[in-house]
């Protein structure tokens, strides 16, 4: 019963023509489309200038870039710039790391943020504000600062964990030299820093739900869990889908700050913490070739694009309203 109601509302089918009976529909539609278009125009122009125009620069990925010749004057060199990444021993390893971390982050953050948002929903005004602020606080910090915090915990001899381990009579661990522990550490740190963001989004979504649904459900005798399953989650779906698809598009892109600053650039940890972006950064740091870095960027974008299209198509099959386009 509740589902049907939400479906109708969400699909927004206009019953009567907006301009009232009698007026020709086509004219009304035209006017509406034109007005809406104009409303979106400033943003469209902005995107055109700042995003589409610079896309021309992507041709650098296929050129041997020389400063005095510039983007258009430099020579073409086919797929040479791509060679460096794909020929390298590490291409597989860093790609694997990137994808696995991102996959893990998506799932873990989704689950935790949803749970937290639902919990917040149980709270009253003042408590909510306090918890929200606390949850969101880590998001404010830059990765550099978080790097220092992690260092404060894990550093040899001076770190907090070292202190604790010694108190317990244990031999302290050299965290920055043990690669195996880092998938857990990085997941924990990433969750700590970013869960506040998703929680906020979901929470804002939840409070936008018409309370009358819940009231109606209560009258029908539903308990809280049932309400969550049948009302809250379905109505949150569009939001969840948006965040999900966007995250999938970024599967091959890693948050550079996280993977560069938190492991403190310790070479012992590369096998489990090196991702595409950090690898390219270190490799190209002195080589400094604009074409080569553009090539890797293009590769990441293409894969992301394919993934987004695929994800959107799959979602369209299950529930066409939730898909992005």
């Amino acid at each position: 019963m509740y589902n049907m109601k939400s479906e109708t509302i969400a699909s927004g089918k206009p019953g009567i023509s907006a301009d009232g009976p009698g007026k020709p529909k086509r004219k009304g539609h035209f006017r509406r489309n034109k007005d809406l278009f104009i409303l979106s125009l400033p943003a469209l122009i902005f995107k055109l200038v700042f995003n589409y125009l610079p896309l021309i620069g992507l041709i650098v990925a296929f050129k041997k870039f020389r400063f005095d010749k510039g983007i258009f004057g430099s020579e073409w060199n086919g797929f040479d710039n791509f060679r460096f990444f794909f020929v390298s021993d590490n291409a597989w390893r860093v790609t694997r790391n990137t994808v696995m971390y991102n996959g893990g982050f998506i799932i873990i953050t989704l689950v935790c943020a949803l749970i937290l948002a639902l919990l917040l929903n149980e709270m009253s005004g003042r408590a909510v504000k306090v918890y929200q602020s606390a949850l969101f606080l880590p998001y404010f910090l830059s990765w550099v600062v978080v790097g220092y915090i992690v260092l404060a915990f894990l550093e040899q001899d001076r770190g907090l964990l070292d202190h604790v381990w010694r108190l317990l009579g244990q031999e302290p661990v050299s965290w920055y030299q043990e690669a195996g522990k880092w998938p857990y550490i990085l997941n924990a740190v990433n969750l700590w820093k970013t869960v506040g963001f998703s929680t906020l989004v979901y929470y804002a979504g939840i409070i936008g739900i018409d309370p009358s649904y819940y009231e109606a459900a209560k009258i029908d005798g539903a308990n809280r869990l049932q309400m969550i399953r049948k009302i809250t989650l379905p109505l949150l779906m569009p939001l969840i889908v948006v965040l999900l698809i966007v995250a999938i598009g970024g599967m091959f892109r890693a948050d550079f700050g996280l993977f560069y600053f938190i492991p403190n650039n310790s070479s012992f940890l590369y096998s489990t913490t090196d991702v595409i972006d950090t690898y390219v950064f270190r490799a190209l740091r002195t080589v400094g070739d604009v074409g080569m870095s553009a090539a890797v960027g293009l590769y990441q974008s293409l894969v992301g694009f394919v993934l987004v299209v695929a994800a959107n198509t799959i979602i369209k099959k299950t529930n066409s309203d939730h898909a992005l386009w």
Partner: protein
Amino acid sequence: MGNQKRRGMQAVLAASLGLTLVLSACSSDNKNNAEGNNKPVNSSQTAAESQSPKLEPAELTWYYPQWSTQPETKEVEEAINKITKEKINATIKLMPTDGGSYEQKLNTMVAANEEFDIAWTSFWMFNYAQNARRGAFVELGPLLEKNAPELQKLLPDLVWEALKVDGKIYSILNYQTITNKEGFLIQKRFADKYGLDPSAIKSIKDIEPFLEKIKENEPDIIPFGMTRGGNFENMKTTYNNIEYISNEAIVGIYRDDAGAKVMDVIQSPEYKEYLNLMHEWYAKGLINKDAPTVKALDDRKKAGQIAVSFHNVLKPGREVEEKNASGGQDIVLVPTSEPFVGTNTIIQSMQAISQTSKNPERALMFLNLLNTDKELLNLVSYGIEGKHYTRISDDTIKMNENSGYNPNITWVFGNTFLADMQEGQDATVRELTLKENEEAKSSPILGFTFDPEPVQTEIANIQAVNDEYGPPLNTGAADVEQKLAEYIEKRKKAGIEKVVAEVQKQLDAWKQKTGK
């Protein structure tokens, strides 16, 4: 309720817009003043024009790295311009750029073909040879005679050789110490306490007994301080006179090898010897445990916790600098090699002229002036006399406390032998440095710079391998036999042999061409 919010926001918007207009007006004012190409401002301009009637007014922008903020740069700039306007009818716009982001910023500017005149460059930041080869700089050779004759004579031939990239000169050197000398830096109080005899230290291993004494008796002190970069690069001369040709690929030659055969340094016996020694030391606890991961030891150094460290630029006068960095503890220098000169020891700090410059000749004239006019160089390095510093003697000055201009980076600006000395620096230091510059043994391949472009892909991947295996091996933390074998294998896979072949090819061609 929504209306209220919007109104509130609108009020804030209006207020901020007002503020912004004021701010942007200010910045555009600056811009207008700076676009001084066709605006003769005061009478001194016309006087100058009569002195050198052939020179049109020109404005030059000069980018250089600076590791601090100097609030009174504007005033210094005005004083500088008084001199430059008079002598070469040019105004300079100083563009000090934060040192930590200098490379990134300049790389982007150059890639975007942005217009500017002069930029600081070196082999270790905003790489000189690489940028020159990619067309960032103007070739200066043909322009020197006309626009910088004094400068041309000032710098020794050795220097001009080193500045050549593929036979052409693209920058001028800020003349300073051009030698490297390797050796230990030891805290005097420990050296005295444990009776260290500096003359007995000839090789790296010789210091071991001293380190062991420290370890035994000073629990809070780190005997030998190392960072994740390790020390082989600093010690390579001590270890049989090795010279790197490519720092990124770690490929080089033995200086004493007349045939100049290029080799993979990682596979050399000296490298293995170094690794074994470090491993021993690490196991004995003589090296700080976090060496493989730590980036800098400056805070521990300042606290006086490091007994011994190693450096490859033991120039005269270094003791004073080290003392400051070590929280006031006296430092003793114990060299393990003779001073020597190679391309990379020379090209540490230069000024280059951008190919996007509208006035390359005038820029060169300015550089000539900067390196020959003492008053001008003092201005740029120390500020305005009286205001920012006080004069102690003819050639010594003292910086004022809390001066609004004290960048303390004379070596970035120009000829450090020309500028006045600071209090505490010695005239003898200068003499010694110049002497060392002249007498040092020079590398047989001076003037050769490797062009990595044909093997760029391989180098990029090799570098990633170095980054991974370097720290654990170079700091002694890893087991040598196994790790080194892996390291060598991975480098081979990344293409090191191709790189070695390419280097050899270029070196042989260069030798043929120059007849060395």
